[in-house]
Symmetry: C2
Subunit: 132 residues, 2 copies
Amino acid sequence: MKRNTHQQQIVFNTVWELKGKHPTADELHEYIKPKMPSISRATVYRILNQFVSEKKLQKILVPSGADIYDCRLDTHLHIRCNNCGRTMDTDIPVIKDFIDILPKSPKYTITGYDIVFNGLCAECTMRKAAAN
Amino acid sequence: MKRNTHQQQIVFNTVWELKGKHPTADELHEYIKPKMPSISRATVYRILNQFVSEKKLQKILVPSGADIYDCRLDTHLHIRCNNCGRTMDTDIPVIKDFIDILPKSPKYTITGYDIVFNGLCAECTMRKAAAN
DNA sequence: ATTTATGCAAACTATTTGCATTGCC
DNA sequence: GGCAATGCAAATAGTTTGCATAAAT
């Protein structure tokens, strides 16, 4: 039977607390440690994986970087900022289901995708515009 | 001044020899070792990085997996096969430039993207169809 | 002869796992 | 009390780096 532990609660709550910040597992661990010094990195990873497979959290796979966690469960697209290094939400619409706009091909069976845009996030775009 | 070494030649040629196979750096190293047993993994990684920054090879960032290398330099999309585990080319058209079809937003500055589709590659789709 | 590139081992980043122990139900 | 979950350390995967040596020009 599944059990409800303090570490599970704090990990889940912290992902919500950092909504929009897209923390990595390690960042979550560092953030939680002051409140619960005994919590181990392995536990944070294990709990995050559980919540993801229970579809209570979303994991975004960032190309050549640590995976990030999101309390948002809807499909939405992200941009990796070359300037500040963070991965941020975009409001680029996902067109109901992005897969549907692809030219149909019987060759493959496409069930999903990982997309991360590269460039500058909203803040860094603004900052750069102000510098001109 | 840049020098032309045997290891550089063999790495570059091997990526061409394995065209469409999308080898990882480690797979390239294993493949080359019989021909040049002294070659080290570090050298393969270094040479691949060089060729990529000289734009003589393309690196594709595979979400939670090893990066793969491609002698094709044009932008094209890939599918990660859940069945055989390989990352294969697709002929999904990139619509001249995929970025152009995105709704314009002054908020971000999108300069590129990493996309990998998930599902079944052409071979595994066929194999599955035959099994029915 | 010079100096870049290589080989080796160690370091590093991100993540998982084995195992003894803790603590939820 | 029993067994799921944790903490710790070690293992793993992928990649980079420092440094002495080899080899290209």
